[in-house]
């Protein structure tokens, strides 16, 4: 029973997307998508509850036995990622209607939602599959749909950003494909579990290490790991708000997940232990500092948040590089936690975009006072980004610190502290602009005159934002779900205890 349900996560969006594309009314299209995301969320939650008991769900597509057929193997890690993706998707959809209505031309709205579903499909597929080639396919499904989604942004810069993302993303995907090809040449298999069990047979081939490099670089491009992040800031800051929320919260996280999967469940850990961790810690540290500093320099809210994402991905990469239980736990927790904070922050940015038609900070001066609910949501999410106790950000940073101290990486400890202080600086910059700065003369050309709705933040948007914000606090205090799933997953990744 459970097996059959798990595949629904992929099948449902696949069926719903073409239907949505054919629908005429924008409200119906939204409704379908919303129901779909909520159902997916429910299923993921159910699956997570089921697998945290230690069970692993196997599903063989079409009844073909592995290693020949494609198999979905779902353990805590898969379930956690699927939960993040579908949860954020559901919240985004709750948030979406008003913002989409404003940013997307009416006749494209059903297409937009269909595309969104395809993107969701791709990301969920990545999270569930146990087959490396299948992973590539889902990676491309999600990427292709996100290129299209990003290009729908109102500013024409969105087109160019999307084009650049397309070029780099495709290079990344092709690298990954090349790596998979080499791995296949060496192993004769595409099944993750199969490759790992027979790894000793072909370990000494040079082909394998080349494959590793191509795979890692390819995924790192998708995950926007420094220095391969150049596509990210532009894409996130010009995409429609709904898209930036969803992608910022999930796309890079899923890519980081894919990286973890490949590093731990395709290649055995011992194989790359001598070389990669140092590189990862170094790159991650540089990413934290560089991303934060660039974030401070930005003058646009969404661009600032995008650079902060670059920094936060740095934390995740450091966590992997530390190769111990706390470090890995922090990475997985941060997948979950960062999705929550960035979703909330981009949601607030979206509310401002809706009302002020801009997310440039000097257009937003003083808006926080007019929109206290959106503003206070931003402050709480910002505190979480800094890592203040009582919020989710603290939990993941705490584990990262613990991991760094246990492995005597004192440089990393300093990087985390400096990164947190820089985070205070850029969050403060937002607060300063939105609340303390005196409002400039309203830019008349940016405001739809005569519209009274402009004075209010739409209810649904606020509800969605506050749901996520409350989750930010709730999971900072009651960590049973996130921490339980994460530490469960870490134990099976690192092979310490079952």
């Amino acid at each position: 029973m459970m097996q059959q349900i798990s595949i629904l996560l992929v099948v449902l969006p696949l069926l719903a997307a073409p239907i949505t594309a054919l629908v005429r009314g924008k409200n119906l299209a939204w409704l379908i998508t919303f129901v779909l995301t909520v159902v997916c969320f429910g299923i993921s939650l159910w699956i997570l509850m089921d697998v945290t008991t230690g069970r692993v769900i196997h599903y063989e597509l079409g009844g073909w036995q592995p290693p020949w057929g494609i198999v979905y193997t779902i353990d805590s890690l898969n379930a956690l990622v699927a939960l993040i993706v579908s949860g954020i998707a559901a919240a985004t959809m709750l948030y979406a209607p008003r913002s989409v209505e404003k940013e997307i031309p009416d006749h494209l709205i059903p297409m937009f939602y269909a595309m969104f579903q395809l993107c969701l499909l791709g990301l969920l597929g990545i999270a569930l599959t146990g087959d490396v080639f299948n992973l590539f396919v889902f990676l491309e499904i999600s990427s292709l749909s996100s290129y299209a989604l990003i290009s729908l942004g109102k500013n024409r810069k969105a087109l160019f950003a999307s084009f650049n993302y397309l070029i780099l993303g495709t290079i990344g995907a092709t690298f990954f494909l090349l790596g998979v090809g080499m791995l296949y040449a060496a192993s004769g298999s595409l099944n993750m579990a199969d490759i790992q069990t027979r790894f000793a047979e072909f370990e000494n081939l040079q082909l394998v290490s080349t494959a590793l490099m191509f795979i890692v670089v390819g995924i790192a491009l998708k995950a926007a790991v420094f220095p391969l992040h150049s596509w990210l800031p532009a894409s996130y800051s010009y995409a429609p708000s709904t898209v930036s929320i969803f992608l910022a919260a999930t796309a890079t996280k899923v890519a980081v997940y894919a990286l973890i999967r490949c590093l731990f469940d395709v290649f055995p850990m011992q194989y790359w232990l001598e070389m990669l961790p140092t590189i990862m810690i170094t790159l991650g540290s540089v990413a934290v500092i560089y991303g934060s500093v660039r974030a401070i320099q930005q003058t646009g809210m969404r661009r600032l948040l995008a650079y902060s994402s670059v920094a936060q991905i740095g934390y995740m990469i450091i966590g992997i590089g530390l190769i111990n239980e706390s470090g890995m736990t922090s990475t997985l927790l941060h997948l979950f936690n960062h999705a929550l904070m960035k979703a909330a922050l981009f949601m607030v940015a979206g509310i401002y975009l809706l009302r002020a038609n801009s997310t440039e900070l000097d257009d937003l001066y003083g808006l926080g006072k007019d929109m206290p609910y959106a503003f206070s949501a931003m402050v709480i999410a910002g505190l979480s980004l800094i890592g203040v106790p009582g919020t989710v950000g603290f939990i993941s940073k705490w584990y990262l610190l613990e991991g760094a101290m246990q492995t005597d990486h004192w440089g990393v400890v300093i990087v985390i502290l400096v990164g947190s202080i820089l985070a205070i600086a850029y969050v403060w910059k937002l607060v300063e602009a939105l609340y303390f700065a005196a409002p400039q003369k309203p830019r008349v050309q940016n405001v739809d005159s005569g519209s009274d709705t402009i004075a209010k933040s739409p209810m649904l948007m606020l509800v969605a934002t506050w749901l996520i914000v409350i989750a930010n606090i709730y999971f900072g205090i009651d960590t049973e779900l996130s921490l339980g799933a994460a530490s469960d997953a870490v134990r099976s990744l690192l092979g310490t205890g079952a």
Partner: protein, 486 residues
Amino acid sequence: MSMTMLIAISMLLPLAGAIVVSRLDRVPNIREAATLVTAVILFIVNILIFGQFTDSDAKLIVAEPMPNLTIAFSVEHFGMLFALIASSLWIVTSIYAIGYMRGHHEKNQTRFYTFFAVAISAVMGVAYADNLFTLFLFYEILTVTTYPLVTHAGNDKARKGGRTYLGILMGSSIAFFLPALVIVWYVAGDTTFASGGMLAGKLDPKWAAPLLLLFIFGIGKAAVMPLHRWLPAAMVAPTPVSALLHAVAVVKAGVFSMVKVVGFVFGTDFLTQSGATHWLIWLPMLTILLGSLVAMTRDNLKERLAYSTISQLSYIVLGALLANSLGLLGGSLHIAMHAFAKISLFFAAGAILVATHKTKVSELDGLGRQMPFTFGVFLIGTLSIIGLPIFGGMWSKWYLLLGSIDYSGPEFTRWALLGTLMLSSLLNIVYLAAIPVRGFFVSSDQKMAIKEAPLPCLIGMAVPALMCIVLFFYPQPFFNLAMAGG
């Protein structure tokens, strides 16, 4: 009722009060009655806790976000002392606020009472925190919830002050307090407060001083220089808020945290052995003197009082850093004594503002004869701060002096300590006593009829002023608590 229940109630009650108050915007009388009732019940709850806490080691664990890192509450002597002071002064402040806010025609009064109650809830959290992590959490919540109070006026000046307030308190706590917390947890594996400290034997003594410095700078609410700027900046707030900041909640939460850190994280013995305080003790000493000197130069009455607070707070920090039982006793007694004295002073200053709209010391000539009651209260507060007999302030200074004589550090430092305490008392006379003297004895050519402030203000003022005197003759409750704690 069980202990854990009472502790939970002490925090939930003000919150519930806040919700009720926020719904009563239309009916100011009932709203203020609700505030008062909540305050009185809270005080009773704290008295109940006081009545039975000694033979109970009840612990209320709310959540455990991470192994060995809990949000938990328990009652211990210092916390009890702090909770009693804060909750009793909340009643007084509420009475006073009713007169002040109405007399001064402040806007958004509902918001004011609501956030006031929330802030008190956070104070209870600080007072009953069972570990450093919980303390930190509520310390931050307190900062955030008092922010709308500080910027109550809502104009640019208020926001500018609020910006400094938030910036310094948040910034210092995240940049210094949080790392210190992490280090403590890493070294000791736990952050639960333990009588006698939990770092002894786990932390290399040579690292004690840097860690303590992190705490001193991190607990910005204690306003040790150079992190004192937020206090004068927060003077833009209405007077009852200033009272809350200075006497009831915020700064006291700061010095209380300091006392907790010294007594229950480091442990006095460990701190003495490590010699960490030998040079760190100069920080509060300098703050005491510089605070007093700066206060002399300020003409704005509230600003002068703010610098006086900065100076007085460092007495408490000093008491903690003396790292002996007499010092801790003096320091924690001073939490109580200073609270009552300073709140009298602020209420009097607020009453002057409400009645005459005057804020400068130089404008007060001759006012004492028109407002004898207000200036009388101010005089009592002043004398208690100076530390003269028949006023409560004497006791805390007395024990601080004894603690200084007991100080185990270098001879020179000990003399410097004694000298600082003496000199500072003299400076207190100069900058504080000058005000009632002006009011009563300097004659003014201005002829105008000035009446005393509204009745609730007067009642609110009378109580703490009386307490200043009562505490001289009957300091036992606080004395016993501080004694047992040390």
